[in-house]
Symmetry: C2
Subunit: 353 residues, 2 copies
């Protein structure tokens, strides 16, 4: 596999915004996993090299890498590091350790399940089998993102002003690439997404790299901009979509979805690989609580009185009534019809996540 | 006037949380105005001494002081600084300069109008007349806040978990003092309120000073906590209330009000001096836009790519249908009945703001 081709035959690595290149998430360098340190962006381009699965797990926990799919790819390569000269039981223990880093996302679990299955089918070089599987997953991810971005572009007209929350990952980048190719003018409004500012740092980076007019707002401002008819569309990725159309995404998404409903602005969810066949509704979602400390500190400085404690639920649950369309690699769906994803023809072979 | 008595006859200065003491907002020291630097809280207690009206205006613009009423008091004393050895025309020019610092709030304008009127009625020492008027305004403010806090306490039962946004000013502090006096247990959840973090820094400070269990969240988390039935009530101050019950308050308030409506949680507005008789509805409100730079920097550090620009609308407009009760010094009102405020008996004489 030519590692310079992020999306075989369509885009070379250098034609892509940094964050959706192989080198912009996690890449396999033969004896280590190199992860772009997203915490330093946009100020600094820095990498963390991990030589053990434990180091990869720490990088995921510490938010060196974020985004459900990118985390999954990092974990796949991380499992390969732990699979060298290891028994199948040891590899399973390593997978459990990696799986525990972020409990809500679905892609991480799927990646590890597939990687374990790949390891089980070979006699000896289990690490190589896991690397090959993760490579295929990364390539399929790019193709899915490409299809999803094009499908989303068809829904969003020229002249739209699009509010985003958190980093809507590669489908969003491919949406912007599709808009550019079609000569559509979008304005991007990035909700900064406290506490880690993925919106201000990552989403704004992709939009400005591609030359789109880009604004940054705080997480409380999107509703105002919808009332003023400045924002016309709201898009996010989704960490999970249930069969009933419930969307699980970064904390803050629910409030924006409410503002969409109150102002008749479409909330469009980019979920490139469709709903989770094992999640019927929100009762199947466990929302991860992260350390409250992350909320009461900023750049290492304490912002709140010491007697106050931070609370940090990481994900919001958005009921289907607040979602206009769910866009996938197989087209777009009304939320209550998203289960039909599985009846449509597969457009990306080898999809893992 | 005994300057040690924040609220004559009821609380001594030292019995009050720092932020609602005279020394916690702006105080007249004879030849200067001393303003508590709220930007440094809770880490450091620091004061800015202003010897000219221009310095007071700069302190207001630079957020040394915040909160509609506290700003008004600072501006009153600031005008007194500019009134020494000045003609009435010069004093009017100084008032216009102070008025332009924050265009949305109502109290600032009322304070300056009243101060100009007071100056016009005396022949010589106009500065002394303005100081005396501002002193009376500050004392009346405290009494109004006290009444409003007690009225709000009657609406919020023991055991409530109260979400706040921005700093709901002295009425909120008196609400907590009333709850303490009645032995009610409240838990306070402070929405941090980007970009200046008034919630994390000021609202949490008052709650922890008074011994209430206090949590801090980011501005995107309140809706989730209502869905989880963790938060039972939402309270804010208001920079302005219109006669039709429209509420103007810190950006971010609208999204929380939507979340209240979606989860049947009461949104209770503390507006100690009632609606603005001159604001019929939201068409009478001009929402101030502050510099976008304040959104894309944190603690002096740039967070977003240089090619992205910040947007900073400072206030939200909340339609009356999203408000449960508006609490004043004369009792509480349904939003569509708030104009009846003017039919109820005055409980605070000498009210200016």
């Amino acid at each position: 596999m030519d590692r310079n081709m992020g999306l075989e035959g369509i885009f070379a690595e250098d034609d892509l915004p940094r964050l959706i290149r192989r080198s912009g998430m996690a890449d396999w360098l033969g004896d280590r996993v190199r992860i772009l340190d997203r915490r330093q962006l946009p100020g600094r381009v820095d990498y963390v090299d991990c030589t053990t699965a434990e180091e990869v797990a720490a990088a995921i926990r510490d938010m060196v890498i974020q985004g459900a799919f990118s985390i999954a790819i990092a974990a796949g390569y991380g499992l390969a590091l732990g699979a060298r000269n290891a028994t199948m039981a040891e590899i399973e223990a390593t997978a459990a350790m990696l799986r525990a880093t972020r409990p809500t996302g679905l892609a991480l679990s799927r990646m590890l399940d597939a990687a374990l299955a790949a390891a089980r089918t070979v006699g000896t070089d289990r690490a190589a089998a896991i690397v090959a599987l993760t490579d295929r997953a990364a390539a399929a991810l790019a193709r899915q993102g490409y299809e999803t971005g094009r499908n989303a572009c068809a829904l969003i007209p020229d002249g739209a002003t699009i509010l985003t929350h958190c980093f809507p990952d590669r489908s969003y980048a491919y949406l912007l690439l599709a808009a550019k190719a079609e000569g559509k003018h979008y304005t991007i409004v990035c909700s900064e997404t406290r506490p880690y500012l993925q919106g201000a740092r990552l989403t704004a980076l992709v939009a400005t790299e591609l030359g789109f007019p880009t604004h940054v707002i705080t997480d409380g401002m999107g509703g105002y901009l919808m009332r003023e008819n400045f924002v016309s569309h709201f898009i996010t990725a989704a960490d999970r979509v249930c069969l009933d159309g419930t969307v699980c995404n970064k904390i803050g998404t629910y409030q924006y979805a409410l503002a969409c409903a109150d102002n008749d602005k479409p909330y469009i969810v980019l979920r490139q690989s469709g709903p989770d066949p094992d999640s019927r509704d929100e009762s199947d979602i466990h929302v991860e609580m992260r350390e409250g400390r992350e909320v009461v500190e900023f750049l290492g400085q304490r912002t709140a009185p010491l007697a106050a404690t931070g609370l940090y639920p990481t994900f919001d649950i958005v009921p289907p009534r607040l979602v206009r369309r769910i866009v996938t690699d197989r087209g777009d769906f009304a939320p209550d019809a998203v289960a039909a994803y599985f009846d449509r023809p597969t457009v990306v072979l080898d999809a893992v996540l």
